[in-house]
């Protein structure tokens, strides 16, 4: 990171154009910003360790990850969409619908792999529709996904008549709940997806294009980047993540769940923003989203341990979100 400055600063007759250049000791600022949420988690963890004897146990920490797993998988997809300068408000409803589709297909056909494939495909299809509407037709993503999300939520209820679907085979449940190295496969799915998502977002040309499209859509277009295609891909990725999350959620709770939509959409978006990714696009990272998910998960877990009412937990997550958003404004101002 440091071998350049001298080389780039060639002598010139023109005085310094930007105030502050030549001062090389200002880089750590970025790191402080990136460490804010992990630091917050650490402080919170420390406090909870003193508040509850159960917090710092292997079992409970596994529980923290498990609680955050479905949210994490959804948030990976949301990260792509948000950094690409869009917003996907259908993503939680996508989880609900994909989960229902999975359950129905398994119950009807008796084959759980077919159900898994259909669930993920359902998610991707919804993502494709989102992409075609917003990237293709030019409908603002906010509006388009609000609409498709509502459709998905309605379909999920209609398909189930509001009743949870049961009678799923144990082999399907094992997809999410098998223990491996002390953690359930659901958690491994999430961790694996974060790694894959991080690699794609930060180490490939596609990732650079995502950042470019979100950073300045017009400029990316004029630079010769297929912005519409990149945005479409983001929505399909988010849809696939939503579909997978639906499949795994269904496997874990052994039933189709039509009602998870709203909170998952909000929490996934909150996790991405909480981690420090810009809602305006073009700035952020997969690691940040991971810590955002972890923060939400730790808060929920802590409140559980302290025996706080479930509804109040949502209030608490909201408070953390608002505080973190305020702190970001302060950090930026400094």
């Amino acid at each position: 990171m440091t071998q350049t400055p001298a080389a780039l600063r060639q002598p010139s007759t023109v005085p310094d154009p930007a105030p502050g250049r030549g001062h090389r000791r200002r880089r750590p600022r970025v790191d402080v910003d990136a460490l804010f949420v992990p630091g917050l988690i650490l402080v919170l963890g420390l406090a909870l360790t003193f508040a509850s004897p159960f917090f710092l146990t292997g079992r409970n920490l596994g529980q923290v990850l498990l609680q955050g797993a479905v949210l994490g998988i959804v948030a990976v997809g949301a990260t792509f969409v948000i950094i690409g300068g869009d917003l996907d408000l259908s993503i939680g409803f996508n989880v609900a619908l994909s989960g229902i589709v999975t359950a129905l297909v398994i119950v009807e056909s008796g084959s759980w792999p077919l159900g898994v494939v259909c669930g993920v495909l359902c998610g991707m299809l919804l993502g494709l529709v989102n992409g075609l509407l917003s990237a293709g037709l030019g409908v603002p993503a906010f509006v388009a996904t609000l609409g498709t999300g509502t459709i998905a939520a309605g379909l999920a209820l209609w398909l189930t008549n509001g009743v949870t679907i049961s009678g799923l085979p144990p082999a399907f449940a094992a997809l999410a709940t098998t223990e491996f190295l002390g953690l359930q496969t659901l958690v491994w799915f999430m961790l694996g997806l974060f790694v894959i998502g991080g690699v794609v977002l930060h180490m490939t040309n596609f990732g650079i294009r995502v950042f470019a499209a979100g950073g300045n859509r017009d400029a990316a277009f004029l630079a010769g980047i297929a912005v519409a295609r990149v945005r479409l891909a983001n929505f399909v990725i988010a849809g696939a993540c939503g579909g997978l999350a639906g499949v795994l959620l269904t496997a874990r709770v052994q039933a189709g769940q039509p009602g998870v939509g709203t909170s998952l959409t909000l929490f996934a978006t909150a996790a991405v923003i909480l981690g420090g990714t810009s809602i305006l696009g073009g700035r952020g990272s997969m690691v940040r989203t991971f810590f955002g998910v972890l923060l939400i998960s730790v808060v929920e877990n802590g409140l559980n341990l302290l025996g706080v009412d479930f509804s109040l937990q949502e209030v608490a997550v909201g408070v953390v979100f608002v505080l973190a958003a305020c702190s970001e404004v302060f950090r930026r101002r400094r």
Binding site: A7, L8, N216, A219, L222
Partner: protein, 518 residues
């Protein structure tokens, strides 16, 4: 009307102004003053401290040290409102108009001085007020029109009218002509002269030295946050001002030194409007071609047809003898055409992202294998391009938004340098760029061409066009009205080129033109 009713002259004085951003001194012990009825130009390169001083004078920034006073009475500003209350109006460089509101609403409604009765807007009086103000400025615009449909000069004049609503004694104009073309500039300078006659004290911040020489009574230059000198009117010449600003003499290029080769890129039958004669245009090997014209003459459409930003189905375009279809920027890129658009911040760069990422955007496949980006090779290439273009930054990881305008433009040119394009399409190569960087950008464009590239550019800056173009196409109302050869002895004069641009519309303002036309 504007402040002239008050008897006698008043003087706004800033003295001993110093300010630091972090550890960096933006202003050190700067003094500046302006009297009513004079135009005092404030000059300096980007980063010289002009904008900091502007912020101090308009109450947007409380300096670390220094005093402001009007006729010896001490002023203390805590916000821009205080400055307005003290009689200092400001028109910022960027446009702050609401395109969907009417002219009258834009002039009046955003101000606390808006005509109202019992807190409800008095629309009729508002229109009348706006009409009066615009009339004073000599602007003939219907106050009930939507502001969005106006041209750049009219929009600037409306912002001036808005500032005048509060009857300021002093008016600060921050680069008012930056986005204007010659004829519009003349019109605006006429308005400034009129305001001066009425006794308004004008602080004019400008990069354009020609107009400073025409209108200013005095000129003060800042360099590195210090006040270099103040020159009185008789000493105002572009050369003297350049010397004052840069500290050394920078001379404009006198046209490219190398000869252009045979035709490499050709546009035929580009029809910009129904009934217009289609435009034919060609760019030779190693040639720099300028396309110029007034706003509305179709210059952006001609460049856009080649760059792909405004694809034209009617035109047939040939690159290196092969007919190509340019359906968008990506298609243009495939044919080796790179585009540096006019509004760098809005349509050129990802400001929050690094210099390296911005530079690599045109040539991602060069830094990757199987879709995976090789960041270190991208960085080292960006560093190498940074050296070629003398981009001044701490590192290529720095966000591009933190660089000066000149360096941002170089990043944009660096992008296409890395992409190895054969043709550069550039809108306004040195808009918003200081004198030193402007000269460097000119040299880079010329050497890009000399090394076998082709350059098609547009510019509203006549000196720039004459400095680097081999040939100049002049557009008027969607048609080519003249083509000039800018090499050798036939180089056209400024006047001749301007004349071709304004074949049927002459400028309204008659100002003494002190510029020496070659």
């Amino acid at each position: 009307m504007t402040g002239s009713d008050r008897a006698g002259t008043a003087r706004l004085t800033a003295s001993g102004v110093s300010h630091h951003y972090g550890g960096v001194a933006a202003l050190s012990d700067v003094g500046f003053d302006v009297a009513t009825g004079e135009v005092h130009a404030l000059l300096g390169e980007n980063g010289a401290g002009k904008s900091t001083l502007v912020r101090v004078l308009t109450g947007a920034l409380v300096p670390d040290a220094g005093k402001l006073a009007i006729d010896g009475r001490r002023l203390r500003f805590h916000s821009p409102r205080d400055a307005q209350a003290a009689g200092i109006g400001v028109v910022h460089q960027d446009y702050h108009l609401f395109p969907d509101l009417t002219v009258a609403e834009n002039v009046c409604a955003v101000s606390v001085h808006a005509p109202s009765r019992a807190r409800i807007v008095d629309r009729r009086r508002m229109v009348a007020t706006a009409h009066d103000l615009l009339h004073e400025l000599g602007v003939d615009v219907d106050p009930q029109r939507r502001a969005g449909g106006l041209d750049a000069a009219e929009r600037k004049l409306i912002e001036i009218a808005r500032a005048l609503l509060q009857r300021p004694r002093f008016l600060l104009l921050d680069e008012p002509t930056a986005a204007l073309e010659p004829r519009e500039t003349d019109r605006l300078l006429g308005v400034i002269a009129r305001l001066r006659e009425r006794g308004t004290g004008i602080i004019l911040v400008s990069h354009r030295l020609g107009e400073v020489c025409r209108i200013a009574d005095r000129a003060t230059a800042l360099r590195d946050g210090r006040q270099v000198d103040t020159l009185p009117r008789p000493e105002l010449t572009p050369t003297a001002l350049t010397h004052l600003i840069v500290g050394s003499t920078v001379s404009e290029l006198q046209g490219p030194a190398h000869h252009a080769g045979p035709t490499a890129l050709e546009v035929r039958g580009l029809r910009l409007r129904d009934g217009a004669t289609p435009i034919d245009l060609h760019v030779g090997e190693r040639e720099l071609v300028a396309v110029i014209g007034l706003v509305g003459s179709g210059v952006p459409a001609v460049l856009g047809a080649v760059a792909g930003s405004v694809p034209s189905p009617s035109a047939s375009i040939t690159v290196d003898g092969r007919a190509v279809r340019i359906t968008g920027p990506r298609a243009a890129r495939r044919h080796g055409i790179g585009f540096a658009p006019e509004d760098r911040k809005r349509t050129g760069l990802m400001l929050q992202q690094s210099v390296a990422a911005n530079m690599g955007l045109g040539s991602l496949s060069n830094w990757s294998r199987g879709g995976f980006t090789n960041r270190s090779s991208l960085r080292s290439s960006a560093e190498q391009a940074g050296r070629v273009f003398d981009i001044r930054c701490r590192s290529v990881d720095q966000p591009v938004g933190s660089l000066s305008g000149g360096n941002q433009q170089k990043v944009l040119l660096g992008r296409w340098h890395l992409a190895g394009v054969s043709t550069l399409v550039v809108q306004e190569p040195s808009q918003g760029v200081d004198i030193g960087a402007r000269h460097e950008i000119h040299k880079h464009l010329v050497s890009f061409a000399a090394d076998g590239g082709r350059v098609l550019f547009s510019s509203s800056d006549m000196d720039e066009v004459r400095a680097i173009a081999h040939r100049i196409y002049v557009l008027h109302a969607g048609e080519v009205s003249a083509v000039f050869d800018n090499t050798g002895s036939e180089r056209p004069s400024r006047a001749a080129v301007t004349e071709a641009m304004t074949t049927d519309a002459r400028s309204h303002a008659h100002l003494p033109d002190q510029e020496t036309s070659a």
